[in-house]
């Protein structure tokens, strides 16, 4: 009996997967379920009281949460299209260059992603510094601004200042993916279209673009998920300020859970954020599968 089972199924698979499972269940799966559970409680010191969906209902009328959600959506809506267009533009311009040129540019645009986010942040803090930052100095000498602009201390500009840094740290991976995707476009197709007299734009629109749609969708979703999770840039550059102008959901989860220790509410925020991201990635996988099949 066991032998027959063994022939059909290879039960040693369980042993190979066990070490990973132990870590996964303990440090990912269990906390995930526990988080959903915790979002249904109110915490008072060591005591916890079951309150059902109260935490979720409260979020609906919590102005700081709604503002943070709005900021998060705004960051995603601005950053994602720019990342997609810019990375495609850069990839198109470098994919058929020599290997050395390609890896030079790949390096340039991946640098902000590999070097510590803290290093990136401290240099941008200096660039944006109102009194002796490079940005104000250059803009003043070009007569674009007159005074010392508080890029991060001003609620009209702070979120854009952060989005710019976010874009620089997000663009490396999409470029690498686009270079790979463009390399897979059959050269014969492009050559024969050129012989038929098609312009570069027509070639791009009718041949290249349809073939790189799956890559584009993958990039859209991963960039969206990453932008939803923006945290370090916010914490280090503005701490959500001024007056919550740059507070994001992820930053608020941290503030509520770690600083104020309102575990129930913070967990509810986490679940809402996860639900939004889950919906977006489900939509993506549907589209992706449709296009591949």
């Amino acid at each position: 009996m066991l032998n027959r089972l063994k022939r059909k199924y290879d039960l040693s698979g369980y042993l190979f997967i066990a070490p990973s499972m132990i870590f996964f269940v303990t440090f990912v799966l269990y906390p995930m379920l526990k988080g959903m559970h915790m979002s249904l409680f109110r915490f008072r010191g060591r005591r916890q009281l079951f309150v059902g969906l109260e935490n979720y209902v409260k979020l609906l009328s919590d102005n700081v949460f709604l503002r943070s959600m709005g900021n998060t959506m705004f960051i995603v809506a601005i950053a994602v299209p720019i990342v997609v267009v810019l990375s495609l533009f850069i990839a198109i311009n470098i994919y058929n260059k020599s290997a050395a040129v390609r890896s030079f540019f790949r390096g340039v645009f991946y640098l902000p992603a590999v070097s510590s986010v803290v290093s990136i942040t401290v240099v941008w803090l200096w660039i944006y510094n109102p009194d002796f930052g490079i940005l104000n100095y250059v803009l003043k000498s070009m007569h674009v601004v007159n005074g010392n602009v508080q890029w991060l201390g001003n609620s009209a500009t702070a979120i854009y200042a952060i989005i710019i840094v976010l874009i620089t740290t997000s663009i490396g991976q999409p470029i690498i993916l686009y270079i790979a995707a463009l390399g897979n476009v059959p050269v014969e197709l492009i050559e024969s279209a050129k012989i038929d007299g098609a312009s570069n734009w027509v070639i791009f629109k009718n041949i290249i673009w349809p073939l790189i749609i799956p890559t584009t969708l993958y990039i859209v979703v991963t960039t969206t998920i990453n932008s939803f999770q923006i945290f370090a840039l916010i914490q280090l550059m503005t701490a959500g300020g001024p007056n919550y102008a740059t507070s994001t959901v992820m930053y608020l989860v941290y503030e509520t859970g770690i600083k104020i220790q309102d575990y129930g509410k913070a967990s509810a925020m986490g679940v809402v954020l996860a639900a939004i991201i889950a919906v977006i990635s489900t939509l993506q996988f549907k589209y992706l599968n449709r296009d591949i099949d």
Partner: protein, 277 residues
């Protein structure tokens, strides 16, 4: 006519690409030069684009036991995480790609589903777990949760598909044991995958600011990026920019070197992970 249009596009794209390159390189230029500037030079206006009297003073200030400890913590945590992730993920990836057992599809679906989940969503319960297990402020708190993250399993599954079934079958016929099969046949074939995963894990563990911030609280357990961040935050009104740039240089240079050395490995890992279904 045709030639002219081509030329115009080329000029435009060349200009834009150059501008972007300068924009991306500049912050690193500013870190690299800023590290050699004393505070009065760093905040001088007009800015000193190139330090005329470079100083090693900032680096001398970093050479204290505490910063050395931060550096050690970063190296140790990243190395330990990398070794554990590569070991567990190569085993699991092989099983998911090549073995048939009840629940294999479901397990993979769960791993993938968890990967799409933002890591920070489990922050609060994970923090409580770490506290209850009395791991707060230990190396284990910085290492073990990262090993649970399923990205490596996914990547190694993709690479394990390239192991030919015929090779595994003939090993079975020869009476080769499971462990021997894994070590002698699978591992040599998936080596490039392990290389890519190792670089990925090392860099992301070094840069995992969020976990480092939440799971440590003593000065001695801080990592280098975290220590740098607290230097920047403590001195909010009198930031010593030269010192910060020296810190930023030391915190990011190792990663930049690792990345530049293994760039093609790295690119391969990204594309295999993303493109093959």
């Amino acid at each position: 006519m045709e030639f002219k249009k081509f030329g115009l596009y080329n000029i435009l794209s060349f200009t834009l690409l150059s501008a972007l390159t300068i924009f991306f390189i500049f912050p690193f230029y500013w870190i690299a030069t800023g590290a050699f500037k004393l505070q009065d030079v760093a905040i001088a206006l007009p800015p000193q684009w190139f330090p005329t009297s470079p100083t090693l003073d900032n680096f001398r200030q970093l050479l204290v036991p505490l910063t050395a400890r931060w550096f050690f913590n970063s190296v140790f945590v990243s190395l330990a995480t990398t070794v554990l992730v590569c070991a567990t993920a190569s085993l699991a990836g092989y099983a998911l790609a090549k073995k048939h057992f009840p629940g294999v599809k479901l397990l993979f679906a769960i791993f993938i589903g968890a990967m799409a989940l933002p890591k920070q969503v489990i922050l609060i319960p994970l923090l409580r777990l770490i506290t209850e297990m009395q791991l707060m402020d230990t190396y284990r708190a910085l290492i073990l949760p990262a090993v649970g993250w399923p990205f490596g399993i996914f990547l190694m599954k993709q690479f394990s598909h390239s192991v030919p079934d015929s090779l595994l079958e003939s090993a079975d016929i020869d009476g080769c044991g499971e462990i021997k099969k894994f070590v002698n046949i699978v591992l040599p074939i998936v080596k490039p995958g392990i290389g890519a995963l190792a670089i990925f894990t090392f860099i992301s563990s070094w840069n995992d600011y969020f976990s480092q911030l939440v799971f440590t609280n003593s000065e001695a357990m801080k990592t280098l990026p975290l220590g740098l961040a607290s230097m920047a935050q403590q001195a909010e009104f009198s930031l010593n920019y030269g010192l910060l740039m020296a810190g930023a240089l030391v915190a990011s240079l190792p990663m930049i070197i690792v990345f530049l050395m293994f760039q093609s490995f790295f690119a391969q890992g990204i594309t295999v992970g993303a493109v093959k279904g």
